[in-house]
Amino acid sequence: MKVELPPGYWNPKIELLPRSDLKELQLKRLRHAIQYAWEASPFYRKLMERHGLSPDQIRSLGDFYKRFPITRREDLDQDQLNNPPYGTRLAVHPESTLRYHTTSGTTGKPPVKAFDTERDWLWGGDCWAASLYNFGIRPDDVVMIAFGYGSFIGFWGAHYGFEKIGCRVHPTGGMDTKTRIQAILNLDVTVLCCTPSYAVRILHVANGEGLDLARESKVNKIVVAGEPGASISSTRKMIERGFDAHLGDFMGTTETAGMMAAMCSKLSGGLHINEDRYLTEVVDPVTLEPVGYGIQGMMVVTPLVKQAMPLIRYGTNDIVILDPNHSCSCGRVFDLFRGGILGRYDDMVKVRGVQLTPQMVEEIVRGFPEVEEFFTTVEERNGLDSLIIKFEIRKDVRAPVGEEIARKIKDEFKSKVGLTPEIELAPVDSLPRFELKSRRFKDQRTHG
């Protein structure tokens, strides 16, 4: 790698607390958040009343986990639908808010509308700044943020986080990929911030232009969020090698308006949860019972400070595995999500009895650096469920190599997943490209 990541703590007082003190701090903040939601957010007042709950009944984290109902995305959608335009979660007048954002809308559902007050926004930016600093970002870094700067929250928080640290930040909303690559070279960019998919896209376009960004650019750190790509080892390796840079995985959501978890400079493979700002749980997606360390489950999150739109025990559908804080050597008190977001329960499909996620496909296909882009569908063919993987090879790779790769992907899929896909070589530039929230997986079956 071009540089070593500098160690350091953004907030040593809190990050080095004993675990029992952290739990006390969480409880204090949680009780305040619940009291506030009870008083100011009609959505949560009604929810608590419906469950016979009042704030004074939550005296411990145990009470909270046991008694407070989980809110799901469907509940937020229904509330917005029944109470247009913003729903009843809003705890302040819209006039007193500072920001308005929406979810990306890539799931096909109507986007969730999210407001932030000035304090929420500062808090969200600070969450990002803390995570960026702990990864190794410093004031002398030159940053390119490659996203559209639209109403989707995307990397807005990152922009403010980098600025808070004192970095020079280059927004590149209107630029195409070739222009961004030239800017990376001309502006001596040291940090690239984008989705993992887009980092791969930049590498492919640079390759097509005869550029080697590992050698010719000064990019030494890459901050990715928005997709599980950094937890997919083949994608991760491709990005790290392509830029000769450290890859930091960051995770957050529009609804929580901040950075929930991120890798620290030790790069242990886990993402430290910002537990002083978020109370997270990992539960069984069916029983909603806690699953404990080391077991895959659904992330449930409560931001501990949210003025405009409180969010309490939000079931995200994200698949995570919790590890204890000591599994990283940095000394932080915060537990970790092993490998970040591993996928989503609502993306999981069953094909001929095999549970499949888009990440399982990406893990195998990205293991072949000759593959430029790919797209997966599940279809009914001749009355049978079939998995079809279409892929494009790089322009500089000859067709016979593509046929060889198709055979290898098929073999690897069969041995690792236990399913034999149909592999199709697609013409160059025929498959969709993504800047944000890639959707390379489509279940086209008409039956459930």
Binding site: P12, K13, K28, L122
Partner: protein, 55 residues
């Protein structure tokens, strides 16, 4: 200011005093003072909240 990475009670007191001053000027009739002090006050609140000094 404290030299190690922990904040002292004296530091906390100084920061709280600064917060109160900014809070006062956040109500100023003079826009340049009102808006800049309000922003600075909220930024300082963020730090004090994260340090568990102010709630």
């Amino acid at each position: 200011m404290t030299k190690d990475d922990q904040i002292s009670k004296e530091d906390e007191q100084k920061l709280l005093t600064a917060y109160k001053i900014l809070e006062e000027y956040s109500e100023s009739e003079i826009p340049v003072l009102r808006f800049n002090c309000r922003k600075a006050k909220n930024e300082l609140w963020q730090a004090l909240f994260e340090l568990d000094v102010l709630f």
